[in-house]
């Protein structure tokens, strides 16, 4: 279950990175307004970097057999904060995702959040063992 959850987190992260790469290269993503475009660019680029940094930190700690629980817990808190910001506040501001990749990100996000939260709890158990 733990390995499956980690795999799900990696899958979602790769989707986010692919989506970000698509947004900056493809001009088919049209936001609702110029202001929304600015907001979209700021948030997406920043979040993509958080995902990249989080992945590197997790992989580095796992490879060097260092405790990973605190890193995963911090990333989980950030993931939930971003989720709250998106669904409570920014849902109407950002573009409606028509691209299959954007749809995949939206659909897998709740699964990713549950998987990440599970990994965070399990990681404390793994670190303390």
């Amino acid at each position: 279950m733990y390995k499956l959850s980690v795999a799900l987190c990696f899958l979602f992260s790769s989707l986010i990175i692919a989506l970000f790469a698509l947004i900056i290269t493809d001009e088919s993503f049209v936001p609702n307004s110029y202001r929304a475009e600015v907001l979209l660019q700021d948030l997406t680029s920043l979040r993509a970097w958080i995902v990249v940094i989080g992945l590197i930190l997790f992989a580095w700690n796992a490879a060097t057999r260092r405790p990973n629980a605190l890193t995963v817990t911090s990333l989980t808190a950030l993931a939930w904060v971003m989720f709250l910001e998106d669904y409570i506040v920014l849902d109407g501001v950002l573009f409606i995702a028509n691209h299959p990749l954007a749809q995949a990100v939206l659909m897998t996000r709740p699964i990713f959040l549950v998987a990440l939260t599970y990994v965070a709890f399990k990681q404390w158990e793994v670190d303390l063992a």
């Binding site: 202001r35 600015v38 907001l39 700021d42 948030l43 920043l46 958080i50 605190l70 817990t73 911090s74 808190a77 950030l78 904060v81 709250l84 910001e85 409570i88 506040v89 920014l90 109407g92 501001v93």
Partner: protein, 169 residues
């Protein structure tokens, strides 16, 4: 073996009795004051400073004094206002979680580390957003906004450092 001898052997020693009577829970409620008294004076004053900043922010928010310094006050966007509201709520949830951690003296360092990361996220995204949307010649607004969040991050970092020192002792 006589009955009295068997009784003596079965009776727990003084150390065992005191170990059984001592606090064996993983965490227990003891109050913030008791928890603060266990820590350094610097930690205590930093915590008080954090509480004062929070109270000042609340007063500024409800009196409307900080509204001109908020992103929504300048851009007039609903999204900015709502974003501020949700972050305002999240900040107070973090404060409540921190207080609970102190109350139970449980995972204090870890709690403040997570809070500090979330606060850094607020700082970076907030400053980025301000720098992109604020009109020109409003550097003072950006500075006021960033310094307010920076103070909170620094206070949290101080708490983490002090708690790490305590744990190493």
């Amino acid at each position: 073996m006589s009955e009295s001898q068997a009784d003596k052997e079965l009776r727990p020693s003084e150390e065992e009795i005191s170990a059984l009577l001592s606090d064996s829970y993983v965490f227990s409620f003891q109050g913030v004051r008791a928890s603060l008294n266990k820590r350094s004076t610097f930690f205590k004053y930093t915590w008080i400073a954090l509480m004062t900043v929070s109270a000042a922010y609340l007063m500024g928010w409800f009196s409307g004094a900080i509204k001109p310094y908020m992103a929504a006050g300048v851009t007039g966007l609903d999204a900015d206002y709502q974003l501020h509201q949700i972050r305002f709520l999240l900040a107070f949830i973090m404060l409540a979680v921190g207080t609970v951690a102190l109350n139970y003296d449980y995972c204090v360092r870890e709690t403040f580390i997570v809070c500090a990361w979330v606060q850094v996220y607020f700082l970076v995204t907030g400053v980025m957003r301000h720098s992109r949307t604020l009109p020109e010649n409003s550097f003072d607004l950006l500075l006021a906004y960033a310094s307010c969040l920076m103070v909170i991050v620094l206070l949290l970092l101080t708490l983490i450092v002090e708690e790490t020192k305590l744990q190493k002792k």
